[in-house]
Subunit: 197 residues, 2 copies
Amino acid sequence: MHDDALQELIHLFSKLPGIGPKSASRLVLFLLKNKEKLMYPLSRSLLASGKSLKKCKVCGNIGVKFPDKICNDPKRDKSIICVVEDISDLWALEKTGSFKGLYHVLGGSLSALDNINPDDLMIKELIQRAKNNNIKEIILALNSTVNSQTTLHYITEKLNGSNVKITKIAQGMPFGAELNYVDEGTLTTAMKARKPI
Amino acid sequence: MHDDALQELIHLFSKLPGIGPKSASRLVLFLLKNKEKLMYPLSRSLLASGKSLKKCKVCGNIGVKFPDKICNDPKRDKSIICVVEDISDLWALEKTGSFKGLYHVLGGSLSALDNINPDDLMIKELIQRAKNNNIKEIILALNSTVNSQTTLHYITEKLNGSNVKITKIAQGMPFGAELNYVDEGTLTTAMKARKPI
């Protein structure tokens, strides 16, 4: 029914996460209506970004230069490493501006189901970095899922014995949340972790 | 925070319909993880499709050849034209295999709010096609929205006086629907348009 070129483009779009064949068709039609403004720039940008952006071998972040922008920034505190699962987590933290140290992007979390082992993540590299005497603290800023917590315990165990202080980000009530809308797990954790005012 | 190349790519993706900055970041990260399999092929396909795919000046469909594949198909009934709003509607009808005539893609529907006038749609071209003596029937397969119905009335008026039979697709109960789940408008139309068994 479709021309081959069209079919291939729709097929490629439908491989992206969260995009089915129907949305893919819609995106392609939209692009064909905006060739100069969007379709060609997107094609160029995909090629250029693919060539220039690479994973930093030190911290796992992606960037143009290596060691990457953050690793290289003289203003950042090089004694603290914040461990995150994904680059999007790094971006989320950077947006808050609440952290001025270095990062370490694991590239996911351990999962028996999806067959993701310690070797698939940048855990070895983290252990290596922790050996550096300059490092004073490692903050584990992982998600609150089961897999992430497994990863947290695995890393904590591996780092055991080093002189580095290991912390994890606090669990509790989300900012602006109402008690009766928060799930039981969060409420239980918040109650247990209560602090004197 | 991001490198420029990264930022531009995310920005371009977030211009697509239904994709916000968050989904755009997610898509870009996914692409960066699948450079050879997805990112470069997508870049190539966007460029190639952009160059090769054009709107057919006769029927408004997009394709590589002109007149396009459907217009040119000797097996299709050239005496019936089915008028649709968008190429995705044409695709939906082609999927059913229930229509073997020609198409005419308007490219949208009339809208005072969005400032879409008859000249913005392929209505003039349709009137022109209707003048051909070979054409016996024009089926209006438009959506059931207010704008589409306005378009339907406008086209019907314009075609008035030609020898062509003008029909519209039936409204009524959707296939497999239950009476108590169908909206009132549909039910009223279905009741009014009842047929002897």
